[in-house]
Symmetry: C2
Subunit: 83 residues, 2 copies
């Protein structure tokens, strides 16, 4: 069966996120001053051929840890949907 | 009240996604050949001070269209949660 994995990869909480800091400042500069604490990460979708949602989750985890995310700097969440 | 906006920004379907293409090829190279069609976008979280979830959604839309996404190349989805 075919599954779609949606993977959110974010910089870890304790770590600096210079891109997010810059964007937060820009919101102030353009008058959107009720917005703060922008954090910027990656959003990845994959199509996975697997026998079950559990297998698809395992493959998505493997793909993320081997290729997509740097687990020292980033944390991630995976959601699996049937296609 | 304080809300968190989660914004997914993805390259539009019809458009080339060279980063996603490269990653799809890499999955094959490392033996994860049941994974295909990687698409890579951005995931942004914001904290928004607003009177209602609707107002927060409007502010998140404004922030995304003015600063975060290029609507010619990218489409986006916003989710609002109360903090």
């Amino acid at each position: 069966m075919k599954y779609q994995a949606e993977i959110e990869i974010m910089p870890r909480k304790g770590l600096l996120d210079p891109q997010g800091k810059a964007v937060s400042q820009s919101f102030k500069n353009i008058g959107l001053d009720t917005i703060s604490n922008a954090r910027i990460g990656k959003f990845v979708t994959l199509e996975i051929e697997a026998n079950s949602a559990e297998d698809a989750k395992k493959l998505a985890d493997e793909a993320t840890t081997k290729l997509l995310a740097n687990l020292i700097m980033e944390s991630y969440e995976v959601n699996i949907k049937e296609l």
